[in-house]
Subunit: 409 residues, 2 copies
């Protein structure tokens, strides 16, 4: 059995090599919270060993963010430093890759004003839209990986001590990311090939819609014509093969922004902008979530979907079997990177351009007309469980069972 | 007696109010090392309470810097992220103030290649030149303050434990910055008035040159015609009164870049780009340091003064009595912010435009002709001690004794 340090090193290597596919002489912009120094140091080392031209670490300090939301003036809360975000956009246009290390306390902003959080998040989304589009448009190679923090672990394992909690959360992260396999990089590649074969199968079906049924859910998600399924890894437009999420268990495609109907209920809590949201129920009519309630965090979720017109519509639908590697950990991570890879999910907001062939040649109007969705936000929420069945609906109305009780048919 | 926490809070208030004079709705860019969270959190809090529009903390991690110098390719070492520095310049042009928290290990980069350090430093200086000019030209309000770190304290107090060392270094920092006075902000104001009266006296003399004599030193520093002495606090061009250094004990002015002659020896070690330099001896001829040796760190100092033509010339000369508040701490800080405020010093490299009236209306050629110096660098080194005498030389060649044995006459 390998030591924690050996596994952490392998995890850093998996991230730089398979997650990002970082190229020689490529710059890397790395975002991480300030308590993640040990893992970030390994990432920086592996990046330079892979030939990085520069690794710019943008450290985020939760205390600084909280102080601003608590003590800042209204003008401060509504402000975002465009000089910084414009610089980051420029770096990505010049070829820089992007890596995010996710380790936040799922309730980081609990107790602060949901309205101030919303104003601040929307300002930041607006200021980072150009960068987000480079990412969602797959113009660059990018990756998000998780890292255990004391605050996060204490939410997932409230009964354990800080040290025990962090140790256990790292174990779960390693398990979910296939780091505990004999050769993690090879295991990752094999896993991605499995996902790719699923993508090929689903693309072959040329589905018109997906139909989700289960407790509190009877939802028909129309898919855009010419949609592409994606999953595992892909080639970004700068020609680099990368795996944007570690772990990843999903195959996903593009819903039609005006063709989603029915009712759907969340199956897991959701950490949204540092606040907990749970027991979401949404009724969709012609693509729009017209009635939305949440048993927990109603105002946080409402503020989110009121961001813009596209925030009440879907930008992604994803299929994940419950028995997958992340599901096998038996852990509710309270972090979307993990939880969305343990259950089928949908996302409010912007769609991914890799899910529609030819989208880069379309005008904004054509994109909307075809059914692609545009929004400042993209927020996944989990709707899958072992009680959910999913049928594919073909153009002639006939059905192909895809999942039964949360597993592939 | 106040607690450490109370003193730290007062120190943060002194920094934001007197050091920066931060204005309502002004943005603040704050650079600090990653282990300075407790003090930075207070600074951020005080800045928002003062009405800051945003506090953008640029955290620096010594490990990331070292990894780049050690494992980075030659291209990586020679690269600087202009997308970031251009953004920072834009923020300052749009009115952002700048705050630096100095806490580095004086020997942070010891053992790494001096050549790689030099290449990297020069690339960074080039990329940050526009920002440096806004600072040295006093276009914005700015301030540098110190903060004790474990690594720094271990160099200053090698015989103490980590905890004892940090505690003692904070005591010295508080003492030097007048935080231990009953009303630190009032004491700071009174002190600045004392420095201002010295500035008025020296400006009245309209000196042609300064003559330093002492062990290993016989140096005549010609001053530019129309030079202005400065010290304590001043008004930046955005109309804000600030104290760019905390502590500050110096009054300083502009040497003539082509009119410095004689020999000068350093009186304290110098931490230069994370490397120790000591026992510097320089012979100046017509402004140029033609022969330079250093008993310790020769290559680091040589690389520095080979940066460009102006790096071998002086940009600042400063007078500090040995008995001042920083000197009273009896501590060799191995950090220029403190050591330069305990001894007379000179600086290789760029001059400060506040030291020459009318400089903003001059072309670059006129500035050089008048004797102002231009360079990518500005590095102070200490030449004062209780064995140094300084005379002012008037236009007619007559002398005014200014300092005897390191004290004002």
């Amino acid at each position: 059995m390998r030591s924690f340090e050996e596994n952490l090193r392998l995890y850093a290597q998996l991230t730089i090599k398979e997650g990002l596919g970082l190229a020689v002489d490529q710059e890397l912009i790395l975002s991480a919270e300030i308590d993640q120094r040990p893992f970030v140091h390994l990432l920086v080392e592996e990046a330079y060993r892979a030939g990085a031209k520069n690794v710019e670490v943008l450290w985020k300090d939760p205390e600084v963010i909280k102080t601003r939301l608590r003590d800042g003036s209204d003008a401060a809360v509504a402000y975002a430093p465009t000089w910084l975000y414009d610089g980051i956009t420029q770096a990505h246009k010049d070829g820089a890759a992007r890596l995010g290390v996710a380790s936040s306390d799922p309730q980081m902003l609990a107790g602060l004003s949901p309205e101030r959080i919303s104003i601040s998040s929307t300002a930041a989304s607006r200021a980072t839209k150009a960068t987000s589009e480079l990412v969602s448009g797959f113009a660059i190679n990018w990756c998000i990986v998780g890292a255990a923090s004391v605050d996060w672990a204490s939410r997932v394992f409230p009964d354990l001590s800080a040290t025990e909690g962090v140790t256990k959360l790292w174990e779960k992260i390693f398990m979910a990311s296939r780091i505990l396999e004999e050769d993690p990089l090879a295991a990752w590649a094999t896993h991605c090939e499995t996902l790719e074969s699923k993508v090929v199968y689903l693309n072959g079906l040329k589905l018109a819609a997906l139909h989700f049924t289960g407790p509190g859910t009877d939802l028909t998600v129309g898919l855009v014509e010419g949609h592409e399924w994606a999953g595992g890894r892909g080639y970004s437009k700068n020609g680099i093969r990368c795996s944007p999420n570690i772990p990843t268990e999903e195959v996903f495609t593009m819903p039609h922004r005006a063709n989603v109907n029915g009712v759907v209920s969340s199956t897991m809590p959701l950490s949204l902008r540092g606040q907990m949201v749970d027991k979401i129920r949404a009724e969709f009519k012609d693509g729009v979530a017209v009635i939305v309630t949440a048993g927990v965090g109603q105002s946080a979720f409402e503020n989110l979907i009121n961001t813009d017109d596209g925030a009440r519509r879907l930008g992604e639908v994803a299929l994940v079997p419950n028995s997958c590697k992340v599901g096998q950990t038996g852990t509710l991570f309270l972090n979307t990177l993990y939880d969305e890879n343990a259950a089928c999910h949908i996302a409010m907001g912007a769609s991914y351009s890799e899910n529609l062939t030819g989208i880069d040649d379309m005008t904004d109007e054509e994109k909307l007309e075809r059914g692609a969705n545009d929004s400042l936000i993209h927020v996944d929420w989990m709707i899958g469980s072992d009680q959910i069945d999913i049928d594919g609906i073909l153009g002639d109305g006939s059905r192909v069972p895809l999942m039964k009780s949360g597993e592939w048919v």
